[in-house]
Symmetry: C2
Subunit: 276 residues, 2 copies
């Protein structure tokens, strides 16, 4: 190596994508992933190899969508000065239409898209009409073959609020905690009659939202009692009888962060310790 | 022929479709059309050849969507008695997910989906954000590369309300009138910042909504003065400088009918005479 590395700037990117044709967020060889497509496009602006440390708030699975995903990346200072102001419009031309960078902003290096986050917000959409789902919404709405009782589902959701060990709803990962704090889980029917769940927690373990939804669908169509999802919390291990709901009804709609760099750093320390 | 033909019942079908992968409504040999796919599915329920007189309210072009399309069809009386109550659910299983029959009801024979209609309601959706269009809405929302002024576009639209010869905005058809009554044409930004036009008329000639939208987009991004679309009304012939907006932003959202069979018949007589 000759010379010091170019100085870098941390950049927060806000993202939206249609997960249908992606193998999820995380880069995988030979597979089309959101991180892969985004890295390519950033490389075309800043030069390949100039993009480092891409880190995302919510590592969405294959088929899961996002309207409010957040990531950070470290970019060369000189490139950012040159292209920063027009980056969103440049990326609109370079990215395929199923992924969009909706905002790009330089942030203090304390910002960590993953560990500074206070909460992740998801929506899950289910249609239970006899005809199925509006064709224009079918890529992001699950068609359910039986009528669903939204009041029962909301009651089941309310029973899960709080800090719990969600092991029953998580795919096991060695040494990782499955304790999470669920702050919101409710259902409503929107103007089109589609059932929409809002699910908010500090963080989610793998397949957790879709497992929670799967359990509540069993309550909603009468196959399980209202208190069944809550009772599973005492299980301490993955509950095999919970069906994981399909990915295409799930949308990451937002990520919450504290207001200041000091709080970003403090939250990151806290989250790293908790996750370890 | 031995024996009288089986007696028939007229059935109103309400339809929704994603026009992306259809060559429009009207049946065409070797092409996937909404009418073709629907006729196949009805034939599988009632027997091929038992389905006759399929007539639609709005013959949408290739790529145009519908959430509130209406058609009528004549079905065998005995088949209807057998399958009528469960037809919507049966068709949900037989039709591809990009077309749905949302309702099916026997109606008096005076009902004519096309000629009894009082009005057709369309929406056109355009996003003008620097990043383009939300990926989940991109199949039914046009991405416009320049900022649009919604107040100018609404003002341009207001200038077109009323009964006029819309020849400037119509593809010419020999011997057919291009006089239409436009009752609504306004724009608003929805909660996501997408510009949405609502366009209502007694009927539309071919490519009329998309030509009106194309003219208003030229006003919205400042290339044409606000009164330009209105001035084109005096043209009396197709205005070549009007760009026809792409089909994928257009959605037929509803069709209005009078309340009673007597009014259906009267409206049909009136519309047939006017169109001839």
């Amino acid at each position: 190596m000759t010379g010091a590395p170019a100085s870098q700037v941390r950049v927060r990117l806000d993202l939206a994508y249609d997960g249908t044709d992606f193998h999820g967020w995380a880069p995988q060889p030979q597979r089309r992933t959101v991180a892969g497509v985004l890295t390519d496009a950033l490389g075309r602006v800043f030069g390949p190899g100039a993009v480092s440390g891409l880190t995302v708030a919510g590592r969405t699975d294959a088929g899961v969508h996002a309207t409010g995903q957040v990531c950070h990346v470290d970019l060369p200072d000189d490139g950012w000065r040159r292209f920063g102001d027009t980056l969103v419009r440049r990326l609109a031309g370079l990215l395929p239409p199923d992924v969009r960078v909706t905002a790009a902003a330089a942030v203090p290096a304390e910002f960590d898209a993953r560990f500074s986050a206070l909460a992740r917000r998801y929506r899950y959409r289910v249609g239970d009409a006899p005809y199925g789902v509006d064709p224009l919404q079918r890529r992001y709405t699950l068609a359910w073959p039986r009528p669903l009782d939204v009041a029962r589902m909301s009651e089941a959701g309310a029973g899960l609020i709080g800090e719990h060990d969600f092991a029953a709803f998580c795919r096991r990962r060695e040494g990782a905690t499955t304790i999470r704090t669920l702050t919101r889980l409710d259902w409503h029917r929107d103007a089109d009659g589609v059932l929409v769940a809002t699910v908010v927690a500090d963080a989610f373990c793998h397949s957790m939202v879709r497992s929670l939804v799967g359990a509540m669908l069993a309550v909603g169509d009468g196959r399980r009692p209202v208190m069944w999802p809550r009772e599973l919390l005492s299980r301490g291990a993955r509950a095999g009888e919970v069906q994981v709901a399909p990915p295409h009804g799930l949308i990451l709609v937002g990520v919450d962060y504290p207001a200041t760099p000091e709080q970003w750093a403090a939250q990151a320390r806290l989250a790293r310790r908790r996750r370890a």
